[in-house]
Symmetry: C2
Subunit: 418 residues, 2 copies
């Protein structure tokens, strides 16, 4: 079949499955998820064999070690994929939940009920575990899913997908609800992005260039997960021990994540005391500091930070440091250079804490805690689809609730409008 | 200045105003709205004079009477515009509202706080009252607004806009927060729709072709307000008097609205009793019936309905009628021909009521009430920006809350991630 018709058929089947899928009970969905987890563990050999094919090709093509690492599966990762599905099974089913209800003076009782969005297309790069995570989240939230993974992971993705779809259909999930674009032809993505009559939402997962390309081409709404240039502002009144502990954690605990600190802003009144203190810790952890001219007066041997560094998501053990006059300068810096992802203030001054919370417009704004907590599990939302840097529909960690829409339900006793 | 630069400047000014605008207190916003209302009443003469210019041109160009009517302002309509601003002043300010808060096992307190979306672009047709409604709703929800009205209403729109902006700046609202594209050059719209770095959301208000065109061209997220092909299903167990009253209201009370009934579905077991009963009422109100073959057996003199009629939003005293075998056929018909706007069931059978609520996926689903209630005021949400037929971000009546986003706020005492 011609590529265009194949993609169209996938999208139409996914749409056609939405009605029946939205009516599947929580019990059946949870049973399916648990059996999917068991199947992953039982068939790990076959999945790893498929992964080997992908790895061999990637090595032949000379991909970077970091790329190969992202592509690699092992028993432990497969076990984590299974655990993730089991976690999703334990989460409350958002579909059918009544969010609120109220009564109108004419006796009408009005409520909002959560419903699935419909068909969600996921365009992702080389990590094959995204395949099972997205299937689990979309199934639980009652959405059909169309998966389009990176061509380098095609064998791994297909092995996981075919296995999970087999389990799904065995438990009565409509087969159309789980779709994978199995061609590695890049035109397939462009075609998907034009099918707004069948696909309700596109979520790209991967690097910034992938997300920008998808957002630019798509005729379907896209929820974007851009980078995080996260800041911590150490205020004049900060407890310095706490500031050291939190800033160290935000930079060092897992520097390659989007919620790691990239720029530390320090109130000028405490810079002389605070900077040497944290510098000792950073030095032990081999964090490279790029400081402003005032920082350099205090910490002699650091490199001078350039303006472009403030726009850089290092994802590495590198940190931009700037001494600021006051909280206003800190907030202004964050507004100019930040990416509205996660930003924190360390302070003992309640007025400044509230000012920071109010005036910094980021997906997550912290007082006296590490930015590393921006994560579905850490917030108590459970597994997440990603961290939205958009402001429409979903912002910050996107869990099951954010994969739903709602409808108004109205109970009357013959009311008419006059 | 070149058109492109003028449009760019408008968008940049609107974006630059967002930060200060989001921090304006509720008191100042409400005072501004009340003074805007007073100014509209006081300056109605000047507004009506501007409107006369538009009307004269429209008449010269030979526009239809319906078009001229939509374009026309009078003292009463201006008073309603003023009242609408006063109503918006009375509504609760959504900005800064904490939606929910919870505590995590590690002591972190996490909450969701409503924040403005940012910059909202409104592209609308000939009704000049949209100008003041949108200014009021965007101001109260803390969003900058860029207005682009129909070229035929340009003098009326500018008169209203300049007056309201004068009041806004007098009360300390940043001037950049209120913008109007004053050129009637159509290229201006295309330019606006490309400025995704400055404009966060586009809401087109008008006919289907305008909305489709905007959605097709836009690089910015669009919330669409498409047509309503609304159904009422009269179930076997319906109280016939209630069914007559509700169906009559939904068709006749204001047939030109998107929440009026366009198709009535009747259970075959009660069709012989119900149809002649309601036909008498419809006849008095001069409603033209287009019936299916079974309907025609009961109501002799009605026209035969064609399949294309089921896809038609009449917006007039015309009604499609179909006799169905059962609730499943009714739900299937609604899924196939409906527009997911507003649909109702009239029934005394609780099981069927819940089945209908669950399985009909429309923005508003009713049991025993008229579809005409789908409206921000009627739902108790206050003034509305429109009725979204989309499923992302906002569905159904779009009030102040739907014009906001949220951010996570997190209070800690030095928590770090391990």
């Amino acid at each position: 079949m011609e590529l265009k018709n194949r993609i169209l058929k996938i999208a139409q089947e996914a749409k056609a499955a939405t009605r029946n899928l939205s009516l599947i009970s929580s019990e059946v969905k949870n049973e399916t998820l648990k059996n999917m987890a068991a199947a992953l563990r039982k068939n790990s050999g076959a999945i790893l064999a498929a992964n080997q094919k992908d790895l061999k090709k990637a090595q032949e093509k000379g991909f970077s070690p970091a790329f190969i690492e992202r592509l690699s599966l092992n028993e432990k990762i497969i076990d984590e994929m299974a655990k993730s599905l089991e976690e999703i099974a334990k989460l409350a089913d958002p579909v059918g939940e009544i969010i609120k209800m109220w009564k109108r003076p004419n006796g009408l009782i009005i409520g909002r009920m959560r419903v699935p969005i419909g068909v969600i297309g996921i365009i992702y790069e080389s990590r094959p575990n995204v395949t099972s995570d997205c299937i689990g989240l979309c199934l639980k939230s009652g959405n059909s899913v169309i998966l389009r993974g990176g061509s380098e992971a095609i064998n791994s993705n297909l092995a996981i997908f075919c296995l999970l779809r087999k389990i799904a259909t065995k438990f009565g999930i409509p087969a159309g609800a789980l779709q994978m674009v199995s061609t590695t032809d890049r035109k397939a993505v462009d075609m998907l992005l034009g099918l707004s009559q069948y696909i309700d939402l596109i979520i790209p997962r991967g690097g910034e260039s992938l997300i920008r390309e998808v957002a630019h081409k798509s005729k379907i709404p896209v929820i974007k997960h851009y980078k995080g240039i996260c800041h911590i502002f150490v205020d004049e009144s900060a407890k310095l021990d706490m500031a050291v502990k939190v800033c160290f954690n935000a930079k060092v605990q897992r520097p390659a994540t989007c919620n790691a600190m990239e720029t530390m802003l320090v109130h000028e009144k405490i810079a002389r005391k605070f900077l040497p203190k944290i510098f000792l810790e950073f030095k032990k952890a081999r964090v490279k500091i790029k400081g402003c001219s005032q920082t350099k007066k205090i910490l002699k041997d650091v490199e001078l930070v350039e303006e472009k560094d403030f726009y850089t998501e290092y994802l590495d053990l590198i940190l931009s440091v700037k001494v600021v006059k006051d909280i206003d300068e800190a907030i202004k810096h964050i507004a100019q250079y930040g990416t509205q992802h996660s930003d924190a203030i360390i302070t003992e001054n309640d007025k400044n804490a509230l000012k920071f919370l109010r005036e910094v417009d980021s997906a997550a704004v912290y007082v006296n805690a590490s930015t590393r907590f921006t994560d579905g599990y850490q917030f108590g939302l459970g597994a997440e689809m990603g961290i939205s840097t958009d402001k429409l529909h979903a912002r910050g960690p996107m869990g099951l609730e954010e994969l739903t829409s709602y409808k108004y339900i109205v109970f009357g006793s013959g009311q008419i409008r006059t």
